[in-house]
Symmetry: C2
Subunit: 500 residues, 2 copies
């Protein structure tokens, strides 16, 4: 395909991407709920949408990328302490939800940096947009499509559905929903719950209604004043309010995981349709989930893996640590709309493949060129990569094309094929634009520190052998050269140790 | 001094530090205004208060450290574009203040990380606390000490001064202020102004009154609804609202630069006194400013140096780049209440001193201990460091004690003195608790990458010599060992090059 096509969940079709405003693209991605450490489930979405963002930038668009922080909702005080004790406690002694949120926001962002994900243009916090949420709720109430009960406010899904289709995105049918537990508004998938749900099914006119504003129980320690009383916003309204504020009432791309399709994104469409008379986004892009041995990730299944455990290999399901780029490569090896099954075996295979690719990449700059035209060509690969990306971001296909490129690089390197200067320049451009560009990969640091250890080991072995062979000149030469460069070496009973 | 004493600007005395709540310390520091890149003036405060925080933690306190982000106020749209064009522009095409704020917040935090400053426990944004600010303004209005004019709200300093002392912190006298330009509320020092001041002297009852809420002009692109109309909060109220929210109405330590003493902190005291019937903080700690060749830093003087320029040495006043730890060391070499004059010469001296200290630190682990008691002692140094820190964080004295420690380490290393295992352990503890602990220094990375280059150079030189001397066995041995470890070496006309 000569232009970018994306699968739009809203139309259930592959569509040509055409931005609403020429040259500009606004993207909103549902970000993390920051009440727990970042885990495997946090990785796929940010990588998928990072590739989309990079590819749009590569194609010359000016992209505003908004990814929110959900920092409101779940935390309650320690009720064991009793009202009296709580009242007497100084503020500084009490659990402060914003301190918890800050800690996990920092951890999440550190993982995003490691995965080479470009920072969002704007990273709005839900708690920082209470006014905007209250105002949007008021508009929905004024339209007669929300009602207040006991200090909480609910969106009236049945009334909305009279003139609209609650189910336009997810394909669900309201009649079915009214008789199903699925209708109940739930929080983000796999969030460690640190509090009690405040859903009051009795207060709702219909089970599919969802909360726009929740009355805060006394032990709920994050709450604000509103005309409905003290409380806090529902989860769905935050994304509606923040996306409208920073991207407008109608923006280009709304992304998230399939687990957010219903009710979260369905609710966003309903809210936006009432408040702004418009479906909020033109393209709705959903990535599929990561499974582990075919099963959903869940704390209860004991297969939840923290990002930190991936990097240091300490989880029971892992045989070794994996580099951030191995994980990124692993995720890009699957199409974003397919499930991705996670296992140590699969990661190991991804690691090997990525190492093979890196080996070939490392050869590029030193390939010897021939005068005139060599026989190696890359036009088909350039074309293939463009077509694959334009076909709904088919990164596995892109990687297959890159491996074909690696094969050809190796042939030239082994003297079995020849490359011209022009083609070599194209190959370098492919490396920079595709691999390091919109795929967002970076060479693993077989880091300088590993390299240094290896180089020092060779030097110390040489010195040991020299001494064994009574070649004192060489032994001293090595020692002196190291000393001059600031290395300290020391012979111990356990062998020679060094430090810089 | 056997316990921590701090100079309290409020009492103008050195006072024994006693937290309000046993075991806990709440600290609020005025953070950056994020409408420009981080510069030299941004470094001193965070380092000074990082040392204070680390020292309190070292002394067993549980510290909640709040540093805000001022992301509201100055930005207006491009008025050249005219109302019509603005109205027709899509949201995604327009300048978005939060995108600007996010960019500079990220840059600021990257510099903080480089300087080894612990991240705040909570980093609240002013725009994220509009409700809290509006509520606090309302309390002040209800108390009769603020008035609304044309959609703006001002604090009535004269009325406040009837029963309180507006000047209790700064020592200024209101009578004088009423006839001085100084009274006019100004923004943070050295903020690149990207908009027009909205101060309306005509609206104020007295020139020393300051704005709590400012009516937004139509081109002001960051504004919220309030009962006084569309507008945005004044600068002083944000710190009052956020410190009270996260630390309580009365907390332990409020810190900032001397440039914030008046009117910012004076105004905070007035606001807190009215809204919470209490001076907000017990201890007010102010660090002095950095000067350049004796002059105040200012854009107009052309001596504003960006943090990036310090690290890469590209500013005209600098002869070379300086490492983050050289800068930290330089700042700690002066007492926080004295001015610190910045120059290339002074930085060079700091770099040399810090290198000398690092050399001695690097010797510690390899010091040979003697059985029984050596003659080297450190009790006087341990005591001296504690007394210096307790004497209003006298870091230059602490550094002097550390240099005495370095002298003794070198004596032992040179065989001119002897150290026992017990004392060596104490020295290691001093290094970890003081140098790497509350001073927050880390060894400069004479990075692995430099080390690797050096080690490889030695290996390649050995190989070159071996070949010159027709020692093919050794030459091949080096080449093979490198190859096995994944190094590629290649002989070129310009010499041998290598890559990992």
């Amino acid at each position: 395909m000569s232009s970018l096509h994306l699968y739009n969940t809203l139309s259930r079709k592959l569509e040509l991407f055409q931005p609403i405003t020429q040259g500009h693209v606004g993207i909103y991605i549902c970000g993390p709920t920051v009440y727990g450490p970042p885990h495997l489930g946090h990785l796929r979405g940010p990588i998928v949408f990072d590739v989309l963002r990079r590819y749009l930038i590569h194609n010359g668009y000016n992209v505003r990328f908004v990814r929110n922080i959900t920092d409101v909702g779940h935390l309650v005080g320690d009720s064991d302490e009793g009202e009296d004790k709580l009242d007497k406690q100084a503020k500084v002694e009490k659990l402060e939800p914003m301190e918890v949120a800050q800690t996990y926001t920092n951890q999440y962002n550190a993982v995003m940096d490691k995965m080479n994900i470009i920072k969002p243009s704007i990273e709005p916090r839900a708690t920082g947009h209470i006014i905007e949420q209250i105002e949007m709720i008021q508009v929905i109430m004024d339209a007669g499509l929300a009602y207040a009960v006991n200090g909480s406010v609910y969106f009236d899904v049945v009334a909305y559905n009279t003139n609209n289709n609650y189910g336009v995105l997810s394909g669900r049918v309201l009649e079915d929903l009214l008789h199903s537990q699925d209708a109940i508004s739930s929080g983000p998938n796999w969030v460690p719950s640190q509090g009690r749900a405040l859903e009051s099914q009795d207060e709702k006119r219909n089970p599919s209604d969802f909360a726009l504003w929740k009355k805060a129980s006394p032990d709920h320690i994050m709450q604000w004043n509103s005309s409905w009383g003290k409380g806090f916003p529902g989860w769905h309204i935050e994304c509606s309010a923040m996306s409208a504020k920073y991207l407008g009432a109608y923006f280009d791309i709304h992304g998230g995981g399939l687990d957010l399709l219903f009710p979260h994104h369905e609710a966003e469409i309903a809210q936006g349709t009432v408040a702004h008379k418009h479906t909020p986004a033109k393209y709705w892009i959903h990535h599929n989930m990561i499974t582990i041995a075919g099963q959903k990730m869940a704390k209860s299944l004991g297969n939840g893996i923290l990002a930190e455990q991936l990097f240091n290999g300490t989880h029971a399901l892992l045989d070794q640590p994996y580099s951030p780029m191995t994980l990124r490569f692993f995720i890009l090896q699957a199409h974003y709309r397919g499930t991705l099954d996670f296992s140590n075996t699969a990661l190991l295979a991804a690691q090997k493949a990525w190492q093979r690719m890196q080996s070939a990449i490392n050869l590029i700059d030193n390939l010897r060129v021939v005068d005139g035209s060599g026989s190696m060509e890359v036009d088909d690969i350039v074309l293939g990569i463009r077509e694959s990306m334009n076909d709904d971001l088919n990164t596995p296909q892109v990687i297959a094309h890159l491996f074909e490129l690696c094969r050809r690089i190796n042939l030239v390197n082994d003297g079995k094929d020849q490359i011209s200067l022009g083609v070599k320049t194209l190959v370098q451009q492919l490396r920079d634009d595709v691999c390091f560009g919109f795929l967002g990969l970076t060479l693993d640091d077989k880091s300088n520190s590993d390299g240094l250890n290896d180089a020092m080991q060779i030097l110390l072995d040489l010195r040991k052998n020299a001494k064994k062979e009574n070649n004192w000149v060489l032994g001293d030469q090595i020692r002196d050269a190291l000393k001059e460069k600031g290395f300290e070496i020391k012979d111990t009973p356990e062998g020679t140790v060094w430090k810089l």
